[in-house]
């Protein structure tokens, strides 16, 4: 390799070592993407068995959304308690398709994804 090429090679190595944090503002993931990630992860979790029940989730210190709260009160079996309420919720659909979807339920993960 000639001296010039070696010099260039060294400069590019330095360029590649520049910390990514040097960027003025690293880009945030779109909330739509976060919503889709969450949905697909929960779907994958369900494929290998039941989700943790809503009662256990609550007992573990997590707040439930109004829909989950209602569902937890009316469902008696463990299978029903493990139901993924988000799968039939309009908030999920909105959040997966709209950036900053107009949903305002407390303890809804899709709302949290839209927050800065």
């Amino acid at each position: 390799m000639s001296d010039n090429l070696q010099h260039d090679d060294r400069l590019f190595e330095l360029l590649g070592r520049q910390p990514d944090e040097a960027e003025p503002e690293p880009e945030r993931a779109p909330s739509r993407l976060k919503a889709r990630l969450y949905t697909s992860l929960v779907q994958q979790q369900q494929e290998s068995g039941r989700l943790r029940t809503l009662a256990e989730t609550r007992a573990n210190g997590h707040g439930l959304c109004v829909f989950e709260d209602l569902w937890e009160r009316i469902s008696s079996t463990e299978a029903a308690q493990s139901f993924n309420c988000c799968s039939v919720c309009h908030a999920r659909v909105l959040a997966e398709h709209l950036e900053r979807a107009p949903i305002y339920w407390g303890n809804c993960p899709y709302v949290a994804f839209g927050k800065k």
Partner: protein, 206 residues
């Protein structure tokens, strides 16, 4: 799972202190299929993974979302292997790095490029203010802008060689080309990058 962690996560500390759950506790909760912990997992790490992938996929940042989804699903499949020896963010970025390299391999195999030796013409006399910018750690943004404008083969080979620090031999083996061929491609990519860097200098500095 990964010998060398991506640059973004070197020397960083666990984010455990910033939130209620430590990395290890969060992983335990996600493995128990706690939906709220899963939501926190996404909320806590998706920005880091997305930013890393987007920068590495220039100029095909449009593919970043699908790749990030693949990374999180791969993370879920392997989450039981997380031992907590390194921060969860580093572990995730390790998976991201593998996925990005898979992408590079695939793209360089798909995209056509010439193996023949070409005469380098119109090479700018100097690399302008690059060394100065490097010293001041101000090269990042301009570099990203230039990478966006390069043909994809050039940006992929530059990112793979210098940002992911892969040797020419490794790259050549992975894409089924000769080391010499990859070296020539890299030289052309550097030349194009330099040319654009030089063109973007303010007239006063030329």
């Amino acid at each position: 799972m990964n010998q060398e962690q991506p640059q973004t996560c070197q020397a960083e500390e666990s984010s455990a202190g910033a939130s209620e759950l430590s990395d290890r506790d969060l992983v335990t909760e996600v493995l128990r299929k706690d939906r709220k912990a899963t939501a926190e997992f996404v909320a806590r790490y998706s920005d880091h993974v997305y930013a890393y992938v987007r920068r590495r996929l220039i100029p095909r940042a449009d593919l970043a979302e699908d790749l990030v989804q693949e990374i999180f699903l791969a993370a879920w499949e392997n989450l039981d292997k997380f031992r907590g020896d390194s921060p969860l963010r580093s572990w995730l970025l390790g998976i991201a790095r593998h996925k990005v390299e898979d992408h590079y391999r695939k793209r360089l195999r798909e995209l056509q490029f010439q193996d023949e030796d070409e005469t380098m013409r119109d090479e700018p006399a100097s690399f302008g203010n690059l060394e100065e910018a490097l010293a001041k750690r101000q090269a990042g943004q301009k570099t990203q802008e230039i990478l966006k404008t390069l043909p994809e083969t050039y940006s992929v080979i530059l990112l793979w060689r210098y940002w992911e620090k892969r040797s020419l031999r490794d790259i050549a083996v992975q894409i089924g080309r000769t080391e010499k061929g990859v070296e020539r491609l890299l030289a052309r990519a550097r030349q194009q990058f330099k040319k654009r860097w030089y063109e973007r200098q303010s007239p006063a500095r030329r």
